[in-house]
C-alpha cells in the first residue's frame, strides 16, 4: 500500500456562488460554496479546488470570505485560483486559509512570479494551471499549445515544454486542463495528460472533460495523472466522491476510502 491517487472536486465560483458552464460559457448556478465544500468533505474528497472566475475586480474579495468560512469547517487541503497576479495576491489567499494557490495567466505573462512566489512561500503551495489545446493537424505528431483567456488566446508555447519550465521555476504541482474537453463530458485528453505527466517530476492533476467514473480511472491508468479533478459530475449529484473512489479502487487504483 502506498500513496493514494487523489480525487479533487472543483468549484468554479463567481459572485459568491458555485457555477458550471461548458467551455467557459453558459454558466449555471450550482449552489453555495461552503455547503458544497462540506458535502464533498463528508463524501471523502481528498482536496478541494476553488477557481474564482469573477470578472469584476470589486467582487474579488468575496472569495477570501468564502475561503475563510470553508477553512474553519473543512480540514482537507484547499487550493484557490483565478486572477492571481502578484506575490501579494498569493499571500492574501494563504492568509484567508488556502493551502495552495493556483496561477494561470500570470505564469505566462510574468513567469518570474512563479520563482518569486515559490521562494517566498515554498513550492508546495504553488500550483501552475495550464490550459492546453491540441494544435497539431490530423496525421501530424501530437502537439499542444498553452492558451489563456478561457481558451481563446494561443500564447504560442508548447504545453509540455511549458510544464517543464514551470517545474524549473518552482511550481510544486501542475493542474492541466484540456480546453478542448472542458465541460464536454467525453473524458480527459489522455495523450496530453500522459505527455505532461511523464515529462515532469512534480505531480500532475488532470482536468477537463470528465463525464463518468471510467474517465477518472483512465486519467490515472492511461494518463498517468497523480490526481483527477472534476466538477459537474459531482455538482449535480450524478455521482458522489465516494462512488468515484470505490470505482477507482475496483479498477486497482489505490485511493483513500
Amino acid at each position: 500500500m502506498a500513496l493514494a491517487k487523489r480525487i479533487i472536486p472543483c468549484l468554479d465560483v463567481t459572485a459568491g456562488r458555485v457555477v458550471k458552464g461548458v467551455n467557459f460559457v453558459g454558466l449555471r448556478d450550482a449552489g453555495d460554496p461552503v455547503e458544497i465544500a462540506r458535502r464533498y468533505d463528508e463524501q471523502g474528497a481528498d482536496e478541494l479546488t476553488f477557481l474564482d472566475i469573477t470578472a469584476s475586480s470589486d467582487e474579488r474579495d468575496l472569495i477570501l470570505h468564502i475561503i475563510e468560512d470553508v477553512a474553519a469547517q473543512v480540514f482537507i487541503p484547499l487550493t484557490v485560483g483565478g486572477g492571481v497576479r502578484s506575490v501579494d495576491d498569493v499571500r492574501r489567499l494563504l492568509n484567508a486559509g488556502a493551502d495552495k494557490v493556483s496561477i494561470n495567466t500570470s505564469a505566462v505573462t510574468n513567469p518570474q512570479l512563479i520563482n518569486d512566489a515559490s521562494a517566498r512561500f515554498g513550492s508546495q503551495c504553488i500550483v501552475v494551471a495550464i490550459d492546453a489545446k491540441q494544435v497539431s493537424a490530423e496525421g501530424e505528431p501530437l502537439r499542444w499549445h498553452v492558451f489563456t483567456h478561457g481558451g481563446r488566446k494561443d500564447v504560442g508555447l508548447d504545453a509540455v515544454e511549458w510544464a517543464r519550465e514551470m517545474e524549473r521555476r518552482g511550481a510544486g504541482e501542475i493542474l492541466l486542463t484540456s480546453m478542448d474537453r472542458d465541460g464536454t463530458k467525453i473524458g480527459f485528453n489522455l495523450d496530453l495528460t500522459r505527455a505532461v505527466a511523464d515529462a515532469v517530476n512534480i505531480p500532475v492533476i488532470a482536468s477537463g472533460g470528465v463525464g463518468n467514473l471510467d474517465h477518472l480511472v483512465d486519467g490515472v491508468t492511461k494518463g498517468h495523472a497523480d490526481a483527477v479533478l472534476a466538477a459537474s459530475i459531482f455538482h449535480y449529484g450524478e455521482y458522489t466522491v465516494r462512488q468515484a473512489k470505490e470505482h477507482m479502487a475496483k479498477h486497482g487504483i489505490e485511493v483513500r476510502l
Binding site: L3, A4, F75, S123, Q124, C125, E173, P203, D226, A227
Partner: protein
C-alpha cells in the same frame, strides 16, 4: 484553561494549524506567536512550518526562538509538524545546514534513482497526498486512530532517524521512512494533521489532552 503556543517563525501559513486546534480545543487559549516568552510560558507548544530548512534555521535564530523551542522540548507537551519535525534533527541535506540537534538523525532528499514503486511506476517528488501511517509504538497520540490510517503529506525531504526507538510510525515512499517520531514529551509528524480530516483532528485532539508521558 490550557494554553497552546503555535510557534510562528515566518515559515508558511499557520492559520490552518491554529484553526484546526481551535476546532478540537474550543476552550483552549491558542496563540500564534513569535515571542520566545510566550512560547516558554505556554502549557503546550506546536511547532509547525513549511518551506526550506536553511530559511527555517535562520528565521528561528533571528527571532531568538531556538532556545525557547529547546526549552519547550525539554519541559512540556510538544508537537512538531512537517518542517517543524525535520528541524529537530542534527543535519539536513537541504542547504547542507545543521538543524536544532535535539534528536539524532539526518534529513535527506528523496533520492531520484529510488523513486519507483513496486509496480515499476515512477513516484513524484514532492510526495503530495494521502499516504498510510503505520504505527511503530503504542502512544497516547494514536488513541482512536487506526494503524495504517491515511494522513496528508507534502514533502521532498524525509527524516532518517538516528535511533530506531525514536520511530513512532513509518510510511512507504517507496521505502519505509519515519513519518512520526516520539521521545518523552515530544511528538513530531511529517504529515499535516491539520489537513488530514478526521484522523488528523483525532491526533490534534489527543495532543491537547496529552500530559506528556508515554
Amino acid at each position: 484553561m490550557t494554553t497552546i503556543a503555535v510557534v510562528d517563525y515566518g515559515m508558511g501559513n499557520l492559520r490552518s494549524v491554529s484553526k484546526a486546534l481551535e476546532h478540537v480545543a474550543p476552550f483552549a487559549g491558542i496563540t500564534v506567536t513569535s515571542d520566545p516568552d510566550v512560547v516558554m510560558g505556554a502549557d503546550r507548544v506546536v511547532f509547525p512550518g513549511v518551506g526550506a530548512m536553511p530559511d527555517c534555521i535562520r528565521e528561528l535564530e533571528s527571532r531568538g526562538l531556538k532556545q525557547a523551542v529547546a526549552e519547550a522540548v525539554a519541559s512540556k507537551p510538544f508537537l512538531g509538524i512537517c518542517l517543524g519535525m525535520q528541524a529537530l534533527f542534527g543535519h539536513s541535506e537541504e542547504g547542507d545546514v545543521a538543524g536544532l540537534g535535539i534528536l539524532p538523525g539526518t534529513v535527506r532528499r528523496f533520492p531520484a534513482e529510488a523513486m519507483v514503486d513496486d509496480k515499476g511506476e515512477r513516484l513524484k517528488v514532492p510526495q503530495i497526498g494521502w499516504n498510510q501511517v503505520h504505527q511503530a509504538m503504542s502512544h497516547p497520540l494514536w488513541n482512536g486512530i487506526a494503524d495504517g490510517a491515511r494522513f496528508y503529506f507534502v514533502h521532498s525531504y524525509y527524516v532518517e532517524a538516528g535511533s530506531p526507538e525514536l520511530v513512532a510510525a513509518f510510511t512507504h515512499y517507496p521505502f519505509a521512512y519515519a513519518s512520526a517520531v516520539a521521545r518523552g514529551n515530544l511528538f513530531a509528524v511529517q504529515f499535516h494533521p491539520e489537513k488530514s480530516q478526521a484522523a488528523g483532528l483525532s491526533l490534534l485532539g489527543n495532543f491537547v489532552a496529552w500530559d506528556g508521558s508515554c
